[in-house]
């Protein structure tokens, strides 16, 4: 069916994701604005913000340790590295063993861990609050995510995303079982949590009672903040990419020629667009949940994932 | 005299011994108990004499003599003195009611007879009921110690059970070897003296009966 993906392709896909990340955010913002009958900022606004931040100087909390300056760098690096594991334009196992779903989740977790540590470094209440809440939800999200991955991996017998996608074959519509629907449902529940959006988190607010992720970025400034923002853009698209790789296997599998490449990119863009608009829709049609309601919300996802697995195994 | 008559005599003596033991058990007054045990010892001496004549075992004559002097005369006298010195109240109220004590005694007797009945014929020179009587006497002596309130009662009980053992020894075998016999009696005497000293000591230091002390427990 498909040949292995070369290292060059991997790196290309990685950069592609990084570059595309802010755009997705921009699109989501735009759609939200439209739904709320606003003009809204242009889809390229995130790029402008980043550019501005990287030009600015740094203000740093006097209590922060030397670690603080390093945190954004490491977080960005980890997130982007996770991007390298997502098959974007083509299915098939990578020639280099860089494509394992567990490794991907691990890298994302690393980024999250470092973010939390950085938030605690500055001291003060907001950082701690954000970190505490983030690290409360993460352990609840990750197992469910893991189970969703397993629910497809058990069938495929591998956790390598490329291979998984290849297993699904091209005509993914026919290949779907009940388990896939449930797994996808679980994923839909998880997506807002993983991308830090309503109803779990609210990316637009800095109200200390509501913010999770933003609270951790509060003390970062200038290029550092830029890195953190870029990281969260990348994280978002990577998550979407993971979903699309798990449930909508990549379009044309055969051949690494330009046509196939373009088609693949197109298919990927389409899928991302769909998921992004879903996020926008949810975000503008729900209210943010109280923190201690979130576990129940995630519980829905847990049940779906468990059922999916049960269907696979039984 | 014939083995038959000896056996009957021993049996009768055994019955008498049991009777004296019952007296000791039921004795309301310490003096009575002492007299009873003296009488018991006398019976033992007689038994020894009888056996001596029957078997011609000279050791038994010695034993009879010792028993007569020591257990029938000396030790009761010692006890008597002690009671005097202590001038305790004559009436000794038992730990458990006399009726219950006697009931227990009956049980003991029955049990010992039942036990020796299960043994079947033990081919001894002379047995008859000597064995069950001996067991019964020994246990009843201890029963006296368990139910008697004062130290004196317990000493009396001690003699009684010793008597039981002696009787058994004589009846079942022709008595223990003389040297052992003497050693045993010496021990008994020593023990009694030590006990007597303790009793008097306690009486003199804290005005109480040593058998009544129960501070050490648990």
């Amino acid at each position: 069916m498909t040949g292995e993906r070369s290292l060059g392709l991997l790196l290309f896909e990685m950069t592609f994701l990084v570059l595309l990340g802010p755009l997705v955010t921009g699109i989501i913002q735009k759609i939200k604005a439209r739904i709320q009958c606003r003009q809204g900022a242009g889809v390229l606004q995130p790029y402008r913000d980043l550019a501005k931040l990287f030009r600015k100087g740094t203000v740093q909390a006097d209590t922060a340790s030397g670690l603080f300056r390093l945190i954004p760098v490491l977080v960005l690096a980890a997130t982007v590295a996770a991007g390298a594991l997502i098959p974007v334009v083509r299915a098939g196992p990578p020639s280099f063993p860089l494509g394992d779903a567990l490794l991907l989740l691990g890298l994302l977790a690393l980024a999250r861990f470092l973010t939390a540590v950085g938030a605690l470094d500055a001291g003060g209440a907001f950082g701690g609050m954000g970190a505490s809440r983030e690290m409360t939800l993460a352990p609840l999200v990750e197992p469910v995510l893991m189970m969703v991955v397993f629910s497809t991996a058990v069938a495929a017998g591998t956790t390598e995303l490329g291979a998984l996608a290849a297993q699904r074959g091209t005509s993914w519509v026919l290949a779907w079982h009940a388990a896939d629907f449930l797994g996808f449902a679980a994923m839909l529940v998880l997506l807002p949590a993983e991308t830090g959006r309503i109803p779990v988190d609210n990316p637009d607010t800095h109200l200390e009672l509501t913010m999770l992720h933003e609270g951790m970025l509060l003390e970062h400034s200038g290029p550092g903040l830029g890195c953190m923002l870029l990281a969260s853009h990348t994280r978002q698209i990577v998550t979407l990419g993971l979903v699309s790789a798990l449930f909508f296997p990549i379009g044309p599998a055969n051949g690494a020629d330009a046509a196939g490449l373009l088609l693949g990119v197109g298919a990927f863009a389409a899928k991302i667009l769909v998921l992004a608009s879903y996020l926008a829709l949810v975000e503008s049609s729900y209210a943010k949940l109280r923190l201690f309601r979130v576990p129940q919300f995630l519980g829905i996802g847990f049940v779906c994932a468990l059922t999916a697995l049960a269907l696979r195994i039984l | 005299m014939s083995a038959e008559t000896v056996r009957t005599i021993i049996d009768d003596l055994g019955a008498l011994l049991l009777f004296t033991m019952i007296l000791i058990l039921a004795a309301g007054q310490i003096y009575r108990a002492i007299y009873a045990v003296a009488a018991q010892s006398l019976l033992i001496a007689i038994a020894a004499a009888v056996l001596a004549t029957a078997t011609g075992n000279t050791d038994l004559w010695v034993i009879a003599g010792i028993t007569l002097t020591v257990k029938t005369i000396v030790l009761p006298w010692v006890l008597h003195r002690v009671v005097r010195r202590m001038n305790v109240r004559r009436e000794v109220e038992p730990v458990i009611p006399v009726a219950a004590t006697l009931a227990l005694a009956v049980m003991v007797v029955v049990m010992s007879f039942h036990l020796s009945a299960t043994l079947g014929p033990v081919n001894q020179a002379i047995t008859g009921n000597a064995l069950p009587v001996g067991i019964a006497l020994t246990l009843l002596g201890v029963l006296v110690m368990a139910t008697g309130k004062t130290a004196l009662n317990q000493m009396v009980g001690l003699f009684a059970s010793e008597n039981g053992i002696f009787f058994t020894a004589m009846a079942v075998t022709q008595g223990m070897p003389l040297i052992i016999e003497i050693g045993v009696i010496l021990d008994v005497i020593l023990a009694v003296l030590v006990m007597a000293i303790m009793v008097l000591r306690v009486r003199s230091t804290v005005d109480a009966d040593i058998a009544g002390l129960d501070r050490l427990k648990g």
């Binding site: - | 299960t118 001894q124 020994t138 079942v172 023990a191 030590v194 303790m198």
Partner: protein, 488 residues
């Protein structure tokens, strides 16, 4: 030569006791004390070598075989340790006023008479002599227990003398029955009571009589050995006696009673088959282990704690004998020695602690490690060893007993035994740990530790650890031969 030694041996402590009456000076008395014990030990070692070479020796009513030798060695070693310990202990006791300086000689004399009677008990071949000597130990030790002369001491002494006298009069009754059974098979005169003579004809004896006889002996000497439920006198006596005497009582005396039981066990096993005495021993052993447990857990009096602990360990010995077989019996005999040594050590250490704090109440004794490091460490070691932790000797013997039990498939007994051992371990370590660690009580005296008690304890601790790490060939041989005598 060796035969005469049999008679010399009991004379040594007797003579020592008489010598004691010649002086009142504490130092001289202590000197005589130590010398006498040392001579006793030396002579015993000579005897041991002879026996190891030439087998059992007998002269008249006395006889020494490997079985007796095990107990004899334990006796003399402990006697020496006690003598060494007493030197310093007495100094302190006199200073505090626990002992009256003018009555010291009678104390020493009594101790050595006590030892003499125990020597006879161990050497006795004639079961009657065994009984006489046993009653002798009762009388002498009763006086020693009441030695302090205050009310509690006398109460303990009275309970002790009455209860154990009753007990061993049962023992005498059993002896009479057995000898009667023997007499029926032509054993006349002294032979009818000579253990070695009876053993020759044991298989032919009337099982019914021997059976009843053994039960009487078991209960009788069991009382003296402190087996439950006849054990009640034991904690009283051990807690009231002067510390060296407690050590002797717990270390040797109750073991002598065990020897008496073993002698009759062999006869009973030959006459009624080994199953019967084993059964009886098992029941009494388990009862002792179980009964001792709650009293150990909920105990405030240090010496009573150790007393109840002796009950448990005598129970374990009985279990070992009950499990039987070569391993079980070997383990039981080894346990006799191990427990004797360890318990004496424990009493020594406890005695020093009590003297330091002026109370036996364990709730008051705290932070011993701070005021008396060596003594505290020794107490801790003794406690751990008593609890059956390697590399101390008791672990080895308990292991063997356990092994025998598993080999025989006594699962219930094993389960109960292990459960109790663990619970008791918890209780003991709880008590001792509380005493050793923590901040010392204000009332604790901080005077430096005297050398002689430490020396005595070190001696015992050395044996305890040595026997825990290895069993030398000579000792192993002794135990093997002794085991053969019991198992046959």
């Amino acid at each position: 030569m060796t035969e005469t030694l049999l008679w010399v041996l009991p004379l040594v402590p007797t003579v020592t006791a008489l010598l004691m009456l010649t002086t009142r000076d504490r130092r001289i008395l202590s000197a005589i004390d130590v010398c006498g014990s040392a001579i006793l030990l030396a002579l015993t070692l000579v005897l041991a070598r002879e026996v190891a070479k030439g087998g059992p020796r007998a002269l008249g009513v006395l006889r020494i075989d490997d079985l007796g030798l095990v107990f004899l060695l334990l006796l003399v070693v402990l006697t020496l340790a006690v003598s060494i310990y007493t030197v310093g202990w007495l100094k302190q006791a006199v200073a505090v006023g626990n002992m009256k300086a003018e009555s010291l000689r009678s104390y020493f004399a009594l101790v050595h008479l006590f030892v003499a009677t125990m020597v006879v008990t161990v050497l006795a071949d004639n079961l009657g002599v065994l009984w006489i000597a046993m009653e002798g130990t009762t009388i002498t030790s009763a006086v020693l227990i009441g030695y302090h002369g205050h009310q509690h001491g006398l109460e303990a002494a009275w309970k002790y003398i009455i209860v154990t006298t009753i007990g061993i009069s049962f023992g005498l009754f059993g002896t009479v029955l057995v000898s009667a059974a023997a007499a029926a098979h032509g054993a006349v005169g002294a032979d009818a009571m000579s253990w070695s003579a009876i053993m020759k004809i044991a298989p032919m004896l009337n099982p019914g009589i021997v059976r009843i006889g053994f039960i009487f002996v078991m209960v009788g000497y069991g009382t003296k050995a402190g087996l439950a439920p006849m054990h009640l006198w034991l904690p009283d006596a051990h807690s009231q006696a002067p510390t060296p005497v407690s050590a002797l009582l717990s270390g040797v005396l109750i073991k002598c009673a065990i020897l008496g039981i073993i002698r009759f066990q062999t006869i009973a096993a030959a006459a009624c088959g080994p199953a019967f005495p084993a059964e009886v021993l098992l029941v009494f052993g388990l009862t002792s282990v179980v009964v001792a447990t709650p009293f150990i857990l909920a105990q405030n009096d240090l010496k009573r704690l150790l007393g109840y602990h002796s009950v448990e360990h005598v129970g374990i010995v009985a279990l070992g004998l009950g499990f039987g077989g070569t391993i079980g019996t070997y383990g039981a005999l080894l346990h006799v020695v191990n427990h004797g040594v360890t318990k004496a050590l424990a009493f020594f250490a406890a005695g020093k602690a009590i003297a330091r704090y002026g109370t036996r109440d364990m709730r008051v004794i705290r932070g011993l490690l701070a005021v008396a490091p060596i003594g505290a460490t020794l107490l801790m070691l003794a406690a751990l060893s008593l609890a059956g932790v390697p590399p101390f000797s008791i672990f080895v013997s308990e292991l063997m007993i356990l092994r025998a039990g598993i080999g025989q498939g006594h699962w219930v007994a094993i389960a109960i035994f292990l459960a109790m051992v663990v619970v008791i371990f918890a209780g003991l370590l709880h008590h001792v740990g509380a005493m050793v660690f923590g901040e010392p009580t204000a009332t604790a005296s901080r005077e430096p530790e005297a050398w002689s008690p430490l020396l005595g304890m070190m001696l015992l601790a050395a044996i305890m650890i040595l026997l825990g790490l290895t069993i030398p060939a000579s000792i192993d041989g002794l135990f093997r031969r002794a085991t053969e005598i019991v198992v046959g």
